[in-house]
Amino acid sequence: MIEGFEFKQCTSILKSTGKKAGNLHKLRDMIARVSDDCIFHHTYQYFLKEHILEYTNDFAHWAGESLEERSLAEQLSSIDPYEFDNIIDLRKELLYVIDDYLEKFPEPREAMPGDEFFFNETITLVFPIGLKAKNLAEFLMAIKFVDIGSIYYHFYEARMRVGGGIDDFSKWIEESLGKKGLAEKIRAIDLFMHNIEDIRKHIEEQTEEELKGDMEVMGVGK
């Protein structure tokens, strides 16, 4: 008996910490002190926002757009939060990159008033959306139907929740459906290089391809 895949979704409510930084020194000090939830929001949850592929976290975005420190923005953007097992190590890496930059360029400009970096956190509500896929065809239908909050929850957020950098989709496809090849193709989708809608399309394409292959093997349509 195959265990079905239950689709869930998450929605985040933004909370202000009331803290802000107007320059890079202040940003560095605040990154060292703010909560883990705050670091999580400004890095992992960046993918939930509408953006062009220029930056990969809020710190890089601010350094590039508000401080116009392009080189720092590039360095911060190259930090992959999923490479770290915990927020402590991610925080250390952010500080390392900023400290290194400040050593070379000790007097970066101030942000314009109102354009400071505002430190936020979130409260995340997770809820089942009433969809359960029992096989790959149902999974494909569901992937086309669900909101991006559901793709985010299973494809991005899962990597921290489940651990080991694995998303829920490929885990289920491998463990419950025994389709290691498809699972690997889904895992190979570069989550940095796409927005969530693109991720949806890629998963759809890979799944459709797999289903076509299955049907050919079964001789459907011959």
């Binding site: 979704q9 929605t11 409510i13 933004l14 909370k15 202000s16 910490t17 009331g18 803290k19 802000k20 939830d37 926002k49 509408e50 953006h51 062009i52 109102g114 400071e116 505002f118 936020n120 956190e121 979130t122 409260i123 995340t124 509500l125 997770v126 809820f127 959306i129 009433g130 139907f145 669900v146 909101d147 991006i148 909050g149 559901s150």
Partner: protein, 403 residues
């Protein structure tokens, strides 16, 4: 009523709304503000209360009453919180409190969650009974006039939480501070789909030419909306691309500054037949809707702004919007994705030309803008957020809540 949003609002929002409503079924949610009509708060409550009720929540909306002196005081408080220097004497604070005390005697404050909108009814918290009390601050208090802010703090700290519209409007208050942007109602007269006949009716009545691309700004005639800057940008564009500029706003009969600004705008527009200055009476929602739908490019070239929901309104109609990078506008426009953010008249002119010359890009941007509003700025999202805050208040200390 909630079913009317099916196919319009994101499925997940409607689902979460229903789940939260299930958790709060039959429980009471009281909103209090200071006006039944006029202004963004009343506009959204008129629509949100029936939605909450249709979900099975005992939602109520009360409006405090006050004399002229009270509203003069609260106007001063409002201005001071936004940074103006205002002197509010102890006697005035006392009157502010007394009026609220009288209202407290007439309003049933016993509710499971109470949302107090803006500073006018703020002192009601002194009479709180049960439930979670949340102060909903719609204005920017990041740089307040300190004396007034500190005096008002005596009330603010008695709330369980505060909600701001934008993170940069907030300040550290040593309590839970949530960020919930305002929203538009896709079914209201200002935003609903219009038939061709309805649009034509507006076009003909207002005498709008349709043979040239239309550049539109809908706003009060206020120097912070920079109408003169808009005309200058239009003139720069006109050298390269033929177009019509429409500046649409309500006449500001009660605002001497507004009247002067309007005269200045008219004088500056001179007798250019391609500049249309439209004075629309209050509640011209359908006309504004139609104007936004016939426009090629919509501007909100503000120099100072609150949230600037007219941006989301135009985006909802699939229009690329060029907005000043102030207030809540950068939250609505992802630069280069759902519109353009500008910092100067020259930048505005450049982006107008870009959109007029690349209609395919303008169309794609407009489509992304509509989707962005669907995901982020519809009333169902704001209702969902209010209920989420209430739920979070009843599950304090958790950053992940499974429903």
């Amino acid at each position: 009523m909630i079913n009317q949003y099916t196919g319009i609002s994101p499925k997940g929002d409607l689902l979460l709304l229903q789940r939260l409503a299930g958790a709060f079924h039959g429980r009471s949610f009281l909103h209090i503000n200071s006006t039944r009509e006029g202004g963004g708060v009343a506009e959204i409550l008129q629509r949100m209360i029936p939605i909450l009720q249709s979900l099975g929540i005992d939602a109520k909306w009360e409006v405090i009453k006050g004399d002229e002196v009270f509203f003069e005081i609260t106007k001063k408080i409002h201005n001071a919180l936004q940074g103006n220097k205002e002197i509010i004497t102890e006697e005035m604070w006392q009157h502010h409190f007394e009026v609220n005390k009288q209202n407290a005697a007439h309003i049933d404050l016993d509710a499971d969650a109470v949302l107090i909108h803006d500073p006018q009814p703020g002192p009601l918290v002194e009479f709180r009974k049960t439930g979670s009390w949340i102060w909903r601050c719609h204005i920017d208090i990041s740089n307040p006039f300190k004396d007034v802010y500190n005096a008002l703090g005596r009330y603010a700290l008695k709330y369980d939480a505060v909600i701001f519209s934008v993170a940069k409007f907030a300040r550290a208050m040593n309590m839970d501070e949530f960020i919930i942007p305002p929203s538009i109602d896709p079914l209201s007269e200002k935003n609903r789909e219009l038939t061709k006949e309805e649009i034509n009716e507006t076009v003909e009545r207002l005498g709008i030419p349709l043979d040239k691309p239309i550049i539109l700004q809908v706003s009060r005639f206020d120097r912070f909306k920079d109408p003169l800057g808009v005309i200058k940008a239009y003139r720069m564009v006109k050298k390269y691309n033929d177009c019509v500029l429409i500046l649409a706003g309500s006449p500001a009969t009660d605002d001497p500054e507004g009247t002067a600004m309007l005269e200045e705008v008219k004088e500056f527009a001179a007798d250019d037949p391609d500049i249309l200055i439209l004075l629309l009476p209050p509640f011209s929602d359908r006309d504004i809707n139609a104007l936004q739908r016939i426009a090629g490019v919509v501007l909100q070239k503000s120099l100072k702004e609150g949230f600037g929901l007219t941006v989301a309104e135009a985006m909802w109609k699939g229009k690329p919007v060029i907005g000043g990078a102030v207030g809540g506008i950068p939250l609505q426009i992802a630069h280069g994705v759902t519109g353009f953010l500008v910092h100067s008249i020259e930048g505005t002119a450049f982006r107008i030309r870009q959109l007029l010359n690349t209609p395919e890009m303008a169309k794609a941007m407009g489509e992304r803008a509509r989707e962005f509003v669907r995901k982020n700025f519809l009333i169902t999202r704001q209702t969902r957020d209010y209920l989420s805050v209430w739920y979070a208040m009843e599950n304090k200390g958790k950053s992940i809540i499974e429903l």
